[in-house]
Amino acid sequence: MAAIASRVVGAQRSRNGILIGTAVMAAVLAVAPFAGIYPVFVMKALCFALFACAFNLLLGFGGLLSFGHAMFLGTAGYVSAYAAKAWGLTPELAIIAGTAASALLGVAVGALAIRRQGIYFAMITLAIAQMMYFFYVQAPFTHGEDGIQSVPRGRLFGLLDLSQPLAMYYTVLVVFIAAFVLIYRIIHSPFGQVLKAIRENEARAVSLGYDADRYKLLAFVLSATLAGLAGAVKAIVFQLASLTDVHWTMSGEVVLMTLLGGMGTIFGPVVGAFIIVALESYLAGFGEWVTVITGAIFVVCVLAFRRGIVGELAAWWAKRRG
């Protein structure tokens, strides 16, 4: 009984910790533009952080490694860029359109991919993402190598002019925090608990009467939708949808962000995304060495550092408290 009670207290404590952490993160990000931090950098990092959080929902809590998540980022980017530019939709509608497109794609791909497990799941998602990549290379509306350029940012709800840098910044921040809280809620809902149970022992979860495939599919679709949201916002912020976002290197990048920050942790993907985006903009002048360094980080993480930054910190903290 005492053990259960202490676990409940522990859970309550960690929940408080996450709540405080989220509030601190939101506050820091809200004042960041006034502290001399380049807003475009933060917006880029936030889009990738959301992408990585969405990916982490699937890998860290569902135990499913998708090696093709770029297809959701890129698809939403293309659809919302096209909706904003060619149809002249307002930004919020364009973002909804893009996110919905990724959700639909998520249903189709998820239904296929969960038919196999483990390593096959990774290969299947990678192969389908590559198929989507070739589709976007050939489809006329994506303009191939050029991408959809100079997408109008427009007015949010017809009122707020997003071409104002600060207006755009706070819109991105609000979307990110809302999605972050949503992911936290999903993980700590009964659905999230069942998902974790399936990750730990699928056979046992099935024997308890849970339809594992259904849970996995829902997790996949949620992850795809939120990854799509990241891609749609990114397309509006940078006024560009290009092939970079659907290429397999992008799928690898989100795996790296999650692994580096700590898979299965709430804040890990955010930390990982900020580090990788910072690293890339810092090393932009070194050309191909960026790939080498990215790969080396992968190798080091897998060999020596599997819990990631946030995971290692949490383990260190737990040990210190005894």
């Binding site: 090696f67 390593i119 590559q130 198929m131 070739f134 690898g252 795996v255 080498v292 790969g295 992968f298």
Partner: protein
């Protein structure tokens, strides 16, 4: 008609490479339970090894050409593979298989990045060896001798591998270890060494394919990067349970891709993935696979 047979030939050539690469992947997966993402990079290293030998390794006027490369490149790249297995992969066997995939993905990025820094991303030409230049006029088509050689040689290599694994004593150890590693070890077989050598062999097979590919495709740091994803799809279609299955699927998909290029070129880059989706719907374990 000429064009159709031309595409069919290209399809067979591509199929030969799919078969050799997916064979290596299947052999490695069988024993190590690891999907080797560096396979494409190791194929590229094989091609570069051949190119470097021709460029720099010579005794007076005598250059180490194609025939030397066929022997040296697999040995060198295979040895590098063995070092990778001993120093890194062997630490991951007790963990989730996904870590092996992540590690080899990172290694592939490192290798490809280093080669791009060193050699740029444009292709480097590699000459067809003198013995295999020229072609045959078959009446309905012109058959370059080198391409015929690639198809025949890769068929021989694939069938030899199949024979060793399915019909010899060494192969029976290997298959037994795939089923139950501990039991085989208890019988006194040095399983860790067998694992290392198997990985080296699979990697050497990729390098050999790279040497054979060098005169056909140009030698390019990224030549393996996109190819490996197609080979993954081939592996999903065939299922990794059977060696012969990997060989047949590889050749068959190459031919199908070639035919698509002739009849409906827009779909040629996606047809293998579409087939993968259909196979997953109809027979999730793959055509020759069994669920494990």
């Amino acid at each position: 008609m000429q064009a159709l047979f031309g595409q069919l030939l290209i399809g067979l050539i591509n199929g030969a490479f799919y078969a050799m690469l997916s064979l290596g992947l299947a052999v490695i997966f069988g024993l190590l339970n690891i999907i080797n993402f560096t396979h494409g990079a190791q194929y590229m290293m094989g091609a570069f090894c051949a190119w470097l030998l021709l460029q720099y390794a010579h005794v007076g006027d005598y250059y180490l050409g194609y025939w030397w490369a066929l022997v040296i490149a697999p040995l060198v790249v295979g040895a590098i593979g063995i070092v990778i297995e001993r120093t890194m992969l062997s630490r991951l066997y007790k963990l989730d298989h996904l870590y092996g995939l992540l590690l080899t993905f990172g290694l592939a990025l490192v290798i490809q990045g280093v080669f791009r820094n060193e050699f740029g991303s444009s292709g480097l030409p590699y000459q067809i060896p003198a013995l295999l230049t020229g072609g045959l006029n078959l009446g309905f088509m012109f058959l370059p001798i080198y391409r015929a050689w690639v198809i025949v040689a890769s068929l021989i290599i694939c069938l030899a591998t199949w024979y060793v694994i399915e019909r010899t004593k060494l192969g029976s150890y290997l298959r037994a270890a795939t089923e139950n590693r501990e039991l085989v070890q208890a019988f006194g077989v040095n399983v860790p060494r067998m694992i290392t050598l198997t990985f080296g062999f699979g990697v050497a097979l990729a390098a050999l394919a790279g040497v054979m590919a060098a005169p056909i495709y140009q030698v390019n740091p990224l030549m393996g990067a996109d190819l490996i994803i197609v080979v993954f799809a081939v592996v999903v279609i065939g299922g990794m349970g059977s060696i012969m299955g990997a060989i047949l699927t590889g050749f068959a998909l190459g031919v199908i891709e070639g035919l698509t290029k002739y009849f409906y070129p827009e779909a040629s880059s996606t047809v293998i993935f579409v087939i993968m989706v259909i196979v997953l719907l109809v027979r999730p374990a793959g055509l020759f696979g069994r669920e494990r």
